[in-house]
């Protein structure tokens, strides 16, 4: 039984029943696993690897993180440009094959991570990890134009975010490199096998997906529709805003993670209750974010995302200065989970919605690597520097607010500023 999955009669042939749903499921699973790997294993694991196993001080680990950020960004942008020029951005099968090789390489790096013992080996490991990330980011994000229809991108991003973040607090809570490596190796071996199957077997589903980007419902991003005005300006403004959000998040969270008072009975609680509550907050907030992503205009959406972050960090500052809580209160951690899920949903959907199949590689590279990764790792490096310099927690959070509050004010000005007529119409 053959039936069209989307947009019948558009001259692109018939797709197997459920091709769109299967595409969504594959995308969500792949991106959720990739995100959990990047956030948990790379960002948190590398710090532990450098500090504990190799014996580097905070300043040296900070330098390695900065190197990782810069190399990742440069490689990702180069790969993004290459994808646009060679037409790889439109070729699903080639992208799946590249993704398979990248995940296989990352699996080897994951297995080797606990064996790294010298500074030279650590730097080599960081460079290879950056190379894999740099290639992987534009390739995997560009799968969106084949697998996720524009109208479902909020929902897909919500699914990715919900799975990735539900997994993190429900895990063991032990963020050292050995258990992380063991956990991720099992998943990555399975993931490599699944990707290889999709990339090298001539499956009807893959044939159907490989042509979906030619349909406007898949290929043309939401913010490029209907004469939506200055696309480059929009891309740059979203890049700048998400850079600030990622920077603020990492700068604050990295210090929170190192402050036992705030994590011992919340994110790292021995009991299931607090971790389950935080995971549930992530999941609910992800679907709230996904629903709002598809419904609101970009200005309102971005204002809510940044506003949430600023208020949460002010909340932590208040708590730190007043000494109100006993460290076990879940109010602010839940709000933090909400804020993180909101912006993560946006980052999983917005780059594809600012792109066509030819530009998605570069835009995803700019967005994820140059904006998100660079911000994350630069903030991580700065947080480690401040920790090494003995900056107290209270002062650290105040400094984070020093970045967040002016950014929010600028955004507020942008929101209340009268819009050009063409943009209002869009």
């Amino acid at each position: 039984m053959i039936a069209t999955s989307d947009a019948p009669g558009d001259g692109l042939g018939e797709a197997p029943r459920g091709a769109t749903a299967a595409g969504l499921a594959v995308f969500v699973a792949f991106m959720a696993a990739g995100y959990a790997y990047n956030v948990t294993f790379v960002q948190l694991g590398v710090t532990d690897l450098g500090r504990r196993l190799v014996g580097l001080d905070d300043a040296q680990v900070a330098g390695a993180m900065a190197l990782l950020a810069i190399v990742t960004a440069v490689v990702a942008i180069a790969v993004g440009v290459w994808m646009g020029r060679t037409g790889v951005g439109r070729d699903l099968v080639r992208k799946l094959r590249i993704a398979t090789v990248v995940v296989a390489g990352q699996t080897v790096l994951t297995v080797l991570a606990p064996l790294v013992a010298s500074e030279g080996a650590f730097l080599a490991w960081v460079l290879l990890t950056a190379l894999a990330l740099g290639v992987g980011v534009p390739v995997t994000f560009s799968l969106t134009v084949h697998l996720v229809p524009v109208r479902r991108r909020g929902l897909a991003a919500a699914g990715v975010t919900a799975i990735a973040y539900a997994f993190a607090p429900l895990g063991s809570g032990d963020w050292t490199i050995e258990p992380l490596a063991r956990t991720f190796t099992v998943g990555m071996v399975l993931g490599t096998a699944a990707l290889a199957l999709l990339a090298w077997r001539d499956l009807p589903l893959v044939r159907a997906w490989s042509r979906q980007h030619e349909r406007p419902a898949f290929g043309i991003g939401r913010y490029l529709r209907g004469g939506a005005g200055d696309a480059r300006g929009r891309l740059l403004s979203v890049l700048a805003l998400l850079f600030v959000v990622f920077f603020v998040d990492s700068l604050g969270f990295l210090r929170l993670v190192d402050t036992p008072f705030y994590v011992a009975e919340t994110w790292r609680a021995a009991e299931w209750g607090p971790r389950l509550t935080i995971a549930a907050a992530h999941v609910v907030a992800a679907f709230v974010g996904g629903t709002l992503y598809g419904a609101l205009g970009e200005r309102a959406l971005l204002a809510w995302v940044l506003g949430a972050f600023v208020l949460v960090h002010l909340g932590y500052q208040l708590d730190a200065q007043l000494g109100l809580g006993d460290g076990s209160a879940l109010g602010i951690p839940i709000l933090y989970a909400v804020a993180v899920s909101l912006y993560t949903v946006v980052t999983f959907a917005v780059w594809a919605d600012l792109s066509t199949p030819d530009t998605i590689g570069l835009h995803a590279a700019l967005g994820v690597a140059a904006s998100a990764w660079t911000a994350t790792f630069l903030a991580t490096a700065l947080a480690l520097r401040w920790a090494a310099a003995g900056v107290p927690f209270e002062r650290h959070v105040a400094l984070v607010n020093g970045v967040a509050l002016p950014a929010f004010l600028v955004l507020l000005v942008v929101i209340v500023w009268p819009r050009p007529r063409a943009e209002v119409a869009a």
Partner: protein, 330 residues
């Protein structure tokens, strides 16, 4: 011709007012954000967070005194001008306090030389020497309200009934004096329930944390109270909008079918009043259903709140961005 000139000037006036509203919003937001970063001395507040402090004999403590940690002693012969707020730590008063003393948290002790010219509100940890003088009203047993306290017997029925009457009256007032705004909110709540509920979650969470932060700046406590009052009115308005949406849909269906309710379709004030009343009454009953009742009531309330926010209190109709995409794809 005259009509078109009138419309143009009306549109210009609206734009002018819109610009003024934007500028006011921006100025207020700027003020609020800057105040949150103010040094406490700039606000005329002395904020004690830790360690031991004594206002000694003959010394004068100007401005408000906020204590959230540590211990503070106002010695005999000392004078404290402003109100005193104790949220944590310990406070011993043995001198003169010209304003009110409010101590919902921490431990408060009044010595034999204590003189309080204002009112006193104290929590559970409170000791008073028999010679201590208090000019104003004394309230003991302050604390955060406990959700576990339930009205006895059938008391909740009266609360639900009053709530329903107030919601019906509020909805009728919207329908009488701002029918387009009510219609816009009802459309958003009825046709875009998941979006309204999602935005309601954010409005509730972020509004709550903003209110708490503002309360701790002391000078913005009135703004916090205003936020709380507006929040209650917004939830009531949301219930009313939802009730109006449901009642309007039923009346339209009845209008097509004929019958005794057919004429109601043309009476929005009655529709709003009955719709708002019914929704509030139903929610009051549903929230008492174990396990799921509270959740259902919460989601409906959040959707009402979200509908108010989505439309800017009904000032503009909500247009779902996905509708435009669907039209384009088709």
């Amino acid at each position: 011709m005259r009509r078109s000139v009138g419309r143009t000037s009306l549109a210009r006036e609206r734009r002018r007012r819109g610009g003024a509203a934007r500028r006011s919003t921006l100025a207020l937001a700027l003020l609020a954000v800057l105040l949150t970063g103010c040094d406490d001395a700039l606000l005329g507040i002395t904020w004690v967070r830790s360690d031991s402090h004594v206002v000694v004999d003959g010394a004068r403590q100007a401005g408000a005194l906020l204590i959230t940690g540590g211990d503070v002693s106002l010695a005999p012969g000392s004078r404290t001008d402003g109100p005193v707020l104790l949220l944590g730590g310990e406070l011993t008063i043995d001198g003169l306090v010209m304003g009110d003393v409010l101590a919902p948290g921490g431990a408060l002790r009044l010595g034999p030389w204590a003189v309080i010219r204002g009112d006193l509100g104290a929590g559970a940890a409170f000791e008073r020497h028999p010679d201590a003088l208090i000019d104003g009203e004394v309230t003991v047993g302050l604390g955060l309200p406990s959700g576990a306290v339930e009205p006895r017997g059938g008391g909740w029925w009266w609360r639900v009934l009053l709530q329903a009457l107030a919601t019906g009256a509020l909805a009728a007032a919207w329908a009488r004096w701002a029918p387009r705004r009510l219609a816009a909110m009802a459309d958003a709540a009825g046709r875009h329930f998941p979006v309204a509920a999602s935005l309601g979650v954010l409005v509730f969470l972020l509004g709550s944390i903003a209110a708490v932060i503002m309360a701790f700046t002391i000078v913005l406590i009135p703004a916090t109270l205003l936020v709380l009052v507006l929040g209650v009115v917004a939830v009531g308005t949301g219930w009313g909008a939802l009730g109006f949406a449901i009642a309007r849909a039923i009346a339209r269906a009845r209008s097509l079918a004929g019958g005794p309710l057919a004429t109601w379709a043309g009476r929005p004030v009655w529709l709003a009043a009955f719709g708002g009343f019914d929704v509030a009454l139903l929610l009051g009953i549903v929230e008492r259903v174990p396990w799921v009742g509270g959740g259902v009531a919460l989601v409906v309330s959040l959707a009402g709140l979200g509908a108010v926010a989505l439309t800017g209190v009904g000032g503009r109709p909500f247009v779902h961005a996905g509708d435009a995409l669907a039209a384009g794809d088709a």
